[in-house]
């Protein structure tokens, strides 16, 4: 039993954190919003250069072969930066799982895993972000993965409340190849989608809290910083508590995916449930602590709040998570209790 991250991973996180600070400012995001497509090939290549896409990619594809828990902190940091390009999605939904894909599919996409972006669509995440920038589309359902060149996809662009997201509804696939998969792989993809959203929630919630903490230290009313008032302190402490107690659950769920834990679906549900709660209170209390400033386009807070609101129901809504957790509890009543958490089936 060892629930710590190796300190070797700290330097990866620090490198990414440095990249966010220097190359991925909120001003960059605002500038990108002015472009026809906010997806920046230059930023994508910078992140590829940092090795992001190789982290969870298996060694057979020239990746580093880290498991998702080992890479989680790096993705969390990218989410903290509000990166527009779907590199977290590509890395977690495609690269971390590519070696589980049917062999013929592996052959088809292997040259695109490190440098390009492969999009994923699934009934639980039916709108595709930045499809026009993708080198391919994987349409996943319970029994198959369908691969399509983006040129063969007819789609309709739909506006998002988050200008960083460029969503497409898939209307038709003109030519495609179908690969049969078993239910286990599909479940692993769904769990990955939930854990991915949870990891992003952690990073984004931390960003909202940091922005707000800085704001209340400098904004003065009644002759002092509003951060010295207990009403404000307690509001932000409540956010810190929710974030802190989502973290371990998220990292455990990330661990369970590559460790083939029989309960990975439950772990992913718990992770996303807690992280979505953290995101909800982080946005609510951050905007409140900012007062009317939080309600403006000018203050950077909304860049990150919008992302939280946009992704919170990806890969299952809060209600669906509750139903699934409830179903698990009802069918495992006798196993619950103090020895449940790390029990091996």
């Amino acid at each position: 039993m060892n629930f710590t991250f190796d300190s070797e991973l700290d330097s990866f996180v620090a490198t990414v954190s440095d990249f966010i600070t220097k190359d991925y400012s909120p001003q960059h995001i605002r500038n990108a919003w002015q472009q026809e497509s906010p997806f920046s090939q230059e930023k994508w290549q910078s992140m590829v250069g940092l090795g992001i896409t190789q982290m969870t990619l298996d060694e057979r594809f020239n990746g580093m072969g880290l498991s998702l828990d080992e890479a989680a902190l790096v993705y969390e940091e990218l989410a903290y930066g509000g990166v527009i390009e779907p590199i977290i999605e590509h890395s977690i939904l495609v690269n971390n799982l590519a070696h589980y894909f049917p062999y013929d599919l592996q052959q088809l996409i292997s040259s695109k895993l490190i440098d390009s972006f492969i999009a994923v669509v699934h009934p639980l995440s039916p709108l595709v972000n930045h499809l026009t920038q993708a080198a391919g589309l994987l349409s996943i359902n319970e029994s198959s993965i369908i691969y399509t060149d983006v040129a063969s996809v007819s789609h309709t662009i739909l506006p998002s409340n988050d200008p960083s997201r460029k969503l497409s509804r898939i209307d038709n696939l003109e030519s495609f190849q179908t690969f049969q998969i078993d239910k286990n792989l599909e479940q692993k993809i769904v769990s990955s989608g939930k854990v991915m959203t949870a990891i992003m929630m952690l990073g984004l919630s931390r960003r909202c809290l940091d922005i707000t903490s800085e704001y209340v230290k400098t904004r003065e009313q009644f002759g002092k910083p509003i951060g010295s008032f207990q009403a404000v302190k307690h509001m932000l402490a409540d956010v810190a508590v929710k974030i802190e107690f989502a973290k371990a659950a998220v990292y455990r769920a990330a661990y369970s995916i590559n460790a083939d834990n029989a309960n990975h679906a439950l772990h992913a549900n718990i992770a996303k449930y807690l992280a979505a709660q953290a995101g909800e209170i982080a946005t609510k209390n951050s905007i409140q602590a900012h007062g009317a400033m939080g309600y403006t386009w000018e203050v950077d807070l909304h860049i990150f709040m919008r992302r939280i609101w946009a992704i919170t129901s990806q890969w299952s809504s809060a209600g669906a998570l509750e139903l699934e957790i409830d179903r698990f509890l009802q069918s495992n009543l006798e196993d619950l209790g103090s020895t449940f958490t790390f029990r091996e089936k």
Partner: protein, 394 residues
């Protein structure tokens, strides 16, 4: 620049138990199966119940289970925090009695381990493990509650003695305990956090009087302690004179952070809550949602504590983060019991001993109301989080 270096050797996270840990669990389980009293003990806040619980502490000690993380020479087993968590999981699973000496083994024990001298460790840790010294806390005073640095009780050094005067209150277990540990002002020239000393006082010393205070459940779970020229040898000073505040904060850190409330307790409550609800048809969706929320939070707490324990074992210190935990578990405990009472409906007020599965919830609810107050109110914890973790101004 390429972030990744293939030659990097990562120390893997590993979220399952070793064979040794599994066999340790079996050892704990089978000992508890043989030794946990079949008939529940009386309340530890009655004279008779207190002695029953003291007897249980002695039984634990005979099996070397007083505190598994302590070194063997003090009655422990020299095990690590993961094994302590396993022990606690089995302990709550077996429905073993509440630890009457939790102030001692979970709070003073770790403090002595860090700040006590060898003679003090020899004298107090073993007696604590054997159940001979049951400890009460001596922090709060009538005018020093959340503002603990306002302590006025004094301990003035005269030769090889301290002369103690003043009053402590809300002292848990003091009604029947043998000793108290607490903070006293030893330097009258200084104020606030300075000039305080951490001193151990026997409650049968001349000049000590104890006035039990009935709690919400009617039983004297805490007491006031009055000190009237009480003489205590300077050997009872922990650490240095004037260092008391820092030592007390370390003790409070153990209390909030890890030791006082192991996850097992809440996981058992959460499981009991889910099982309770499964006996009722047609629960409102809001109740169902609250149940799930409680269970998930208990799981989140367990995961967080395993991570914290792993961090401590890897040599990291826990600081103000412990305040996050205290806020989290105290609210969870309260909510679990509140939901149970809603499910029980008109039955919820019943205190009948023969239907413990019902009456334990109202009793637990009464106890859980104290959670957001003791070990530093949650409002103070939130101030600590805001100021020390988020950097907000005082």
């Amino acid at each position: 620049m390429l972030l990744l270096r293939k030659e990097t050797q990562i120390l893997k996270m590993k979220l399952n138990y070793t064979n040794d840990q599994n066999s340790f669990r079996q050892e704990v389980r089978s000992w508890l199966e043989r030794n946990v009293p079949k008939k529940p003990l009386l309340s530890l806040d009655t004279k008779e119940g207190f002695e029953q619980h003291r007897h249980w502490e002695k039984t634990l000690n005979k099996g070397n289970w007083s505190m598994v993380t302590w070194p063997k020479e003090y009655g422990g087993r020299g095990l690590d925090l993961i094994e302590w968590l396993i022990f606690e999981e089995e302990y709550y699973r077996a429905k073993a009695p509440i630890r009457v000496n939790q102030n001692g083994v979970f709070l003073l024990g770790p403090t002595l381990m860090e700040y006590g001298n060898e003679a003090q460790k020899q004298r107090f840790l073993s007696a604590m493990a054997r159940g001979e010294h049951i400890w009460a806390q001596g922090w709060s005073e009538p005018n020093a509650g959340s503002d603990m640095a306002a302590i006025r009780s004094t301990a003035i050094k005269q030769g090889d003695k301290f002369i103690i005067n003043g009053q402590k209150t809300w002292s848990s277990r003091a009604s029947f305990a043998d000793w108290t540990f607490g903070l006293f002002r030893s330097d009258l020239e200084t104020s606030r956090h300075h000039g305080l000393s951490f001193i151990l006082v026997p409650l049968d010393a001349s000049g000590v009087s104890v006035r039990p205070i009935p709690q919400l459940d009617g039983e004297p779970g805490f007491a006031e302690i009055f000190f009237d020229n009480v003489e205590v040898p300077t050997d009872n000073l922990i650490g240095n004179e004037g260092q008391g505040w820092n030592i007390a904060m370390a003790t409070a850190g153990f209390e909030r952070g890890l030791m006082l409330r192991s996850p097992a307790r809440f996981q058992e409550t959460a499981a009991n809550l889910i099982k309770l609800a499964s006996n009722y048809d047609n629960l409102a969706p809001s109740i169902n949602a609250a149940l799930i929320d409680c269970w998930v939070r208990a799981e989140a707490y367990a995961l967080n504590i395993y991570q914290t324990a792993s961090k401590i074992q890897a040599g990291k210190k826990i600081g103000p983060e412990s305040s996050l935990g205290k806020i989290f578990w105290s609210n969870l405990d309260l909510e679990m019991h509140a939901v149970a009472l809603k499910i029980l409906g008109t039955q919820s007020e019943l205190k009948n001993e023969e239907a413990k599965n019902i009456s334990s919830w109202i009793k637990g609810f009464m106890f859980s109301l104290a959670g957001p107050i003791y070990a530093g109110t949650n409002e103070i914890q939130k101030n600590i989080v805001a100021e020390r973790l988020l950097g907000l101004p005082r």
